[in-house]
Every structure is written in structure tokens, then in C-alpha cells.
Amino acid sequence: MRLKYFVALAFVIIVSAAMVVFAQPPAGSGSITGKVTYTGTPMKMKPIDMSKEPSCAKQHATPLLTQNVTTGPGNSLEWVIVYISAGDQGSGAPSQAVRYDQKGCEYTPHILPMEADQQLMIYNDDQTSHNIHPLAKINQEWNKSQPPGSPPIDTKWEKPEFIPVKCNIHPWMHGYFVVLKTPHYATTGSDGTFEIKGLSPGKYTVTAWQEQYGTKTQEVTIAGSEAKTANFVFTATPY
């Protein structure tokens, strides 16, 4: 008699556990928009001297500026990655690849967000050789030469990490792979704004990451298909 109760109880527990695990949350329609700005004095964006690589220099009508801190009107910050750092169920890596280009001795995009295990294709569109050197610490660092006309490097990153990328041949080349475990992320545009879409109702931790200034977080709760606002302000330093 006792045993029967036990079995019934176990059954209920297993079924409810399975419901929690396998229940697919409906694709949400909530969103978070906002703007990332700074206070204080940020480092200057300095023109990059590419005269040592004429084939690249001539691709820039005006010299490319350093991008460590890219500022815009109204104290806005570009190239900030805003993402859901908690409260989100990982949905597995998407099937489409992300693309990273070396063009005019510049990484395009300067900062490339992606999901863990998502396919990453790296192209050299220049007439010069590059070496692509992701300085990973949590994932494994590697360093490969990519001469002009060679096929794209087809790779992926297994663990979430902010990975600096550099080309040792062209020392001004500098970018980031931002590997996340959420599909919900956005990069701020030249006006510092971002929009994260497709959020189902829930309580989220939203993190903004700037390569020079680190991270800022906020809690945002979304009910129904709400559109919430979350603004971030970084304290800038002149160096």
C-alpha cells in the first residue's frame, strides 16, 4: 500500500520535473531598449597611421580612428555589447554563422558578439597577409596566418568569454569576440542606442560591456510583451 503511494508520488515528481525541463517558453515579444552614455572625459579617438601598409591605407579616405572608446554626440558610446546575463534559458547555438572580416587592416565589425558553439567564419579581404590571434584565456588561444586569397577560417568558441583579437603584423588591428550563452544581445550603434528583442516574460539581469570600462548591470522585469527601457552610464577615464 505504502509502495503504491511512493510510486504515484515519484511519478508526479518526475512528470512535473519533465514539464519544467522540456516546456518550451513561447518566443517572447517583450523588449529592452536603451542608450549607453558616459560621464567624465574619455580617451581621445586618435587617427591610426597605416603608412606601413599602403594597400590598407589607401582604402581609408580619412584615417581610421582608434576604437577602444568610440564616442558620439550626446556623450553616447558605440560598440557596447548589451546582453542578458541572467534569467535567460540558453537555446543552443543558432545554425547560422557569424562573419568577421579583415578589410582595410580593420576588423569588421570591431566587436563581434556571438553565442557559444556558434559557427564563426573569419575572412581576409585584404591584399596583405594577416595573422589572426585571439588572446583567449578561458577558451584556448590560437594564432593563424591568413594570406590574401586564402579560404575563410571556420571555427567556434565553446565557452562564454570576452576574447581580445589582434594581428601582430599590423599592431593597430584590435577587436573582440564576445562569446555569450544567450541569443539576446545587441551592439550599441553610433548614437549609443540598442534594442534587445524577443524576450518572454520574466526577470532578467541585463549587462552592458565596454572593452575599456568593463561591465554595468541592471535588473529588468518584463511582463507580457512589455517594452522596457534600460539606460547605462559609464564613468570615462582619459587614459
Binding site: K52, S55, Q127, N131, N143, K144, Q146
Partner: protein
């Protein structure tokens, strides 16, 4: 007088106690880290296999504490007492990133790779050759070095690079290799004449941000990872992980790699077949040769 004596005794006594305390604290930290809960390989069981020799980490640990700890440190992170005086810095074993590998970039080296590194030493650094230790002692050290990073228990070493038989050393091979040296931008760091003075040389840093020099062929020094043509082939094909030197394995075919090896030998002031062939060739063709550098690149485009 007596008071003075007491004071001296007291001072000496406390110094001794402090020293003992510091020593045991150091020994403690060495025993306790690497942290076993992080999945770090076990000092008691980790082994290495080099040919017929099996190395044991627990024996390697004793050797490490006697011979290696001064530079590589009690925590294996390259922060030993001598490290501040050393450039390039001692290897940080906790990262498990190694320059001299037979395996692809981004993968762990084989036990043989580590054994060869300990045996050979690094001629361009403070790391001496440990040939005075017996092969089985060196194997023990390899086993112990592998206990500093959890990567060794989670990953296998990469598949070693296959090096096909060397192609004939001819002037054509050297000239093709010279074109590779231009095209692959080797000269951007190693310099148009291989003097280690290319336009990017002064900007180079290792993965810890410390300045690092590219190899200067005109010194004729042994290469960091060996001195044979096979070693040279392996160095640029697998790259030196943790340094600016990339891997060319995906973009250079075996024949081309041998061509490059043959050309690189002509940059060294050594009595090699390559150097003598090149010298003879230059007597008759020297004035027709386009110097390596930005202008040659522009001419090619």
C-alpha cells in the same frame, strides 16, 4: 649587556620562526594548489609516456621543487623568485599554452614535445638544457608539469604534424621560398634580411603583454625549438602559441614549406648547403633580385 644579549637572542629566534613559518606556508600553498576540485590532474597519478619511459608526477614534484621552482614558482604560474629578473618570462604552466609543439595551434603538446623542451632548453631564454637529469627524471617532470592545468585531464594533445621527406635543396626551391617569405609577410617582423628588425618588430608582445623579439636569423643562433631543418619546418607550421608567431599549417603546402625552410637557411651565417648555393647564385644574379620589403609587394600586385 645582558639585556642586549637577550635582545639579540630574541631577534634571532623570531627571525628563525618567521623563516620557518614562511617556508612551511610556501610548501603548503604548493601542496594545496593546483585545486583538485577544479578537475586538475592528480599529482599522485598523473603520468607521462615518452617512448618506453613512463614519468610519474609525484617524483617529478620533488625534482620541480629542487630545480624549477626558482623561476616557474611554487604555483607553476611562472612567478618564481627569479622571474622578475628574467626576460622572456618563465612559462606559466597554469595556462597550458606552449610554444614548442608538434601539434596544431590551440592544442596541447605531446609528452614528447615537453620532454624535448626540457631536454633542449631554450637557447634564447634563461631556460637551460636539463640533459644532466636522467631521461626518466625528465619524464617525471613532464608528468608533474601536466598537473598545473585542468586542460590535461579534459583534453587530449593535438595530432602531431606530419612532416614529409625533405625536397631537394636547389636554387629554384630557395627562390620559391624567398617569394613565400615576401608573400606571407614574414619580413614584417623578421625583417627584409631576417635581422629581426621588420616594421612591426618593435610592437610585438607575448600573450601576457610583455615585449618579445622575433628571431634574428643573422645571429645564426639555434632556433628556440630545435636546430634541424625538420625543426624549422615544424616551428612555422605549428606556430609558437602564446607569442606573435602564427601557424602557417592551413595556408602553406608541404612542398612550399620546404622551399621556405631552404630560403630561411640562406639568412643564417652558417655553412649550410642552402647558404653556399645562394652565395654562388647572388654572384651572377645579385643585381636582378628585387629586395624583399614593401616595394617588392607593390611590384607583385
Amino acid at each position: 649587556m645582558t639585556l642586549n644579549k637577550y635582545a639579540v637572542t630574541f631577534a634571532l629566534g623570531s627571525m628563525t620562526l618567521l623563516t620557518l613559518g614562511a617556508t612551511s606556508a610556501r610548501a603548503q600553498s604548493h601542496v594545496n594548489s593546483p585545486a583538485p576540485w577544479l578537475g586538475t590532474p592528480d599529482v599522485a597519478t598523473e603520468q607521462s609516456h615518452i617512448g618506453g619511459i613512463t614519468g610519474n608526477a609525484k617524483d617529478g614534484k620533488k625534482l620541480y621543487r629542487r630545480f624549477c621552482i626558482g623561476c616557474h614558482g611554487p604555483d607553476g604560474d611562472g612567478e618564481g623568485m627569479n622571474a622578475q629578473w628574467i626576460d622572456p618570462k618563465p612559462r606559466d604552466f597554469t595556462e597550458a599554452t606552449f610554444k614548442c609543439r608538434s601539434t596544431p595551434t590551440g592544442t596541447l603538446p605531446t609528452d614528447e614535445d615537453l620532454f624535448n623542451a626540457i631536454t633542449r632548453g631554450f637557447v634564447t631564454t634563461n631556460m637551460p638544457s636539463w640533459r644532466p637529469l636522467s631521461p626518466s627524471q625528465r619524464a617525471d617532470l613532464v608528468a608533474f608539469v601536466k598537473t598545473w592545468s585542468p586542460r590535461w585531464s579534459k583534453e587530449k594533445p593535438g595530432t602531431p604534424l606530419n612532416i614529409p621527406p625533405e625536397t631537394p635543396i636547389t636554387i629554384d626551391s630557395i627562390l620559391r621560398g624567398r617569394a613565400m617569405f615576401q608573400k606571407l609577410e614574414c619580413w614584417k617582423c623578421h625583417g627584409p634580411q631576417g635581422h629581426g628588425d621588420g616594421p612591426s618588430a618593435s610592437t610585438l608582445t607575448d600573450d601576457k603583454g610583455n615585449p618579445i623579439r622575433p628571431y634574428n636569423f643573422s645571429t645564426g643562433e639555434r632556433f628556440m625549438c630545435g636546430d634541424t631543418n625538420q625543426d624549422l619546418y615544424r616551428i612555422f607550421m605549428t606556430g609558437l602559441d602564446g607569442s606573435p608567431m602564427p601557424s602557417f599549417a592551413d595556408v602553406v603546402k608541404p612542398d612550399e614549406a620546404w622551399d621556405l625552410v631552404h630560403f630561411l637557411r640562406t639568412l643564417q651565417p652558417l655553412p649550410t648547403q642552402e647558404a653556399s648555393l645562394w652565395k654562388t647564385y647572388m654572384v651572377t644574379h645579385g643585381k636582378d633580385i628585387t629586395p624583399i620589403g614593401p616595394d617588392a609587394g607593390a611590384a607583385a600586385q
